[in-house]
């Protein structure tokens, strides 16, 4: 899933250059440590999906689509609808993405995105029940990554969240012993909007929204997801390096601040999409 061809020598030189720049508060593409790249959210791009969003973050491009089925609930949650987030890094996305079932990177991406949505209680699953224990709405959010240039975690999360906000799902009722489509549509029962903020740590210096080159040389990736009330709802360290303990609280501070800025962009895009 890495976008940049790994060459040990080039990586070392690039890392050295990044550290020199970071010492001056600069980054290799001209941004400051806490600057996101340009974020564009296009809502409703896939008309056949119940909801969809195309997110462009610098050169990273992902599209998410919502599909709905009526299914039996899981045995241990008979009173809840089902929500499944599944991300695939398509082979169109980079020279290093292979066709085939999701690898550990794509699975981590799906699961961390899912955790943010789930822990924040974004979709009120208890309102997605048709007949308790028998029939519930099953919401699939599939993500196709089209181009990778770093920070798939945020781009994927924004696409999933936006597609869920955009979704209009067919309404079903239980009548005469069977589940019937009413022909009406309804929005999903949304009760929170989680915003993911991902940082790279390079020699314990944190930068937000790392691009592909930065991810190629970073020590660790740190994702924190913040809910509407500024609370933390999910987090994940990735990468083979380590970080100083106090860096995590610094990252929490950054995440809470940056999430406000991103939240506005998504809310605006969803509003435009609805108008």
């Amino acid at each position: 899933m890495s976008m940049v061809k790994r060459s040990a020598i080039v990586d070392k030189l690039r890392r050295k250059r990044m550290l020199e720049l970071l010492a001056e508060g600069k980054r290799i593409d001209g941004r400051g440590p806490l600057d996101y790249r340009k974020l564009e959210v296009e809502i409703g791009a896939i008309e056949k999906a119940e909801g969809s969003a195309l997110v462009t973050l610098g050169n990273t491009k992902v599209v998410a689509g919502v599909k709905v089925k009526v299914e039996e609930p899981f045995p241990d949650t008979p009173d809840k609808g089902i929500l499944i987030v599944n991300a695939e890094v398509l082979p169109v996305a980079s020279a290093y993405a292979e066709p085939g079932p999701p690898d550990e990177n794509a699975i981590e991406l799906s699961r961390v995105t899912d955790r943010g949505v789930r822990a924040s209680g974004m979709v009120d699953l208890s309102k997605l029940v048709i007949v308790e224990g028998k029939w519930v709405y099953s919401i699939f959010v599939d993500v196709s990554v089209l181009n990778t240039d770093g920070n798939l975690f945020d781009a994927t999360s924004y696409a999933v969240v936006s597609a869920l906000l955009n979704a209009k799902i067919p309404k079903y009722v239980f009548e005469d012993g069977e589940v019937k489509e009413t022909g009406e549509v309804m929005p999903l029962p949304i009760s929170n909007v989680p915003i993911s903020v991902t940082m790279a740590s390079i020699e314990d210096k944190l930068v937000v929204d790392p691009n592909g080159e930065e991810e190629g040389v970073m020590d660790a990736r740190l994702t924190l997801v913040v809910d509407e009330e500024g609370r933390l709802c999910a987090g994940q360290k990735g990468g083979s390096g380590s970080l100083r303990p106090e860096k995590l609280m610094e990252a929490v501070e950054i995440a809470i601040n940056k999430s406000k800025e991103i939240r506005k962009v998504i809310e605006e895009a969803v509003k435009v999409g609805k108008a």
């Binding site: 008309e47 999906a49 089925k69 599944n86 398509l90 082979p91 020279a95 599939d142």
Partner: protein, 238 residues
């Protein structure tokens, strides 16, 4: 009734009319060549990677390039969610797409390497394989692969007893026959032909002739998309 008494189809087209087509070249930063096409409601992203090293090595061909092709549908591309694992249909279409593109490429120029063509259906409508070939040929040109000609594709078929051009989703499902055809327009050679349905010899011939003729319109749009990327601002041929 898929065609009304005035000969107008469900989406307002006449029997020999194409759906709206929009192509954009070079839309993916990482790919060596890429093309995004909207063809009716089809929304398709094509990326080309290569020529590049072959893994595993023993699959490399000593006298030419190994062309590989994957046609794949995103789970949200269809009315009912599509399982992301490749279906038998996708595997067959991947094969015929590869065989439709291969005659147009000078693969002898790149021995021991591979070219990958990835055709991702983001939204599917009737004729997605033809739209995919059309976009893939442009993406191969965008990647700078040596070519003998472009490949242009369109489907013809029979709906409500009439031969029609370029079937949409409902016509594809409820129509009586479907025949996707791909041509190298300058070399005048067929590279893809599939057929399913029931046609008399006469109907077959009429449909086939319609495909041969209409494919030239597709070719024009392909050329325009390439010009737009490479010669924007310069004087257009045509």
């Amino acid at each position: 009734m898929l065609i009304d008494e005035k000969g107008i189809r469900t989406d307002g087209r006449k029997w020999n009319e194409l759906r709206p087509i929009k192509m954009e070249v070079g839309v993916l930063k990482n790919a060596d060549g890429s093309c995004y096409i909207e063809f009716g409601k089809n929304k398709i992203m094509v990326a080309v990677y290569g020529p590049k090293e072959v893994h595993p090595r023993h699959m490399a061909l000593s006298d030419r390039c190994l062309l590989r092709c994957r046609y794949h549908m995103s789970p949200f591309s269809t009315t009912t969610r599509k399982n992301p694992a490749p279906s038998r249909r996708e595997i067959e279409i991947s094969k015929v797409l590869r065989e439709a593109l291969e005659p147009s490429l000078i693969l002898e120029d790149y021995p021991r390497t591979a070219i990958d063509v990835f055709v991702e259906i983001l939204q599917s409508d009737g004729g997605s394989r033809c739209a995919g070939i059309t976009a893939a040929s442009v993406a191969l040109a965008d990647a700078g692969i040596n070519m003998r000609d472009l490949v242009s594709a369109v489907a013809v078929g029979k709906v409500d007893g009439k031969i029609v051009l370029d079937l949409n989703d409902v016509e594809d499902k409820e129509g009586e026959a479907d025949m996707p055809v791909a041509i190298m327009p300058n070399l005048n050679r067929v590279t893809l032909f599939q057929f399913e349905g029931i046609l008399t010899k006469e109907e077959f011939e009429k449909a086939y002739e319609l495909a041969l003729k209409s494919v030239k319109k597709i070719y024009k749009i392909q050329r325009e998309a390439l010009y737009e990327k490479y010669f924007e601002g310069e004087v257009k041929v045509e």
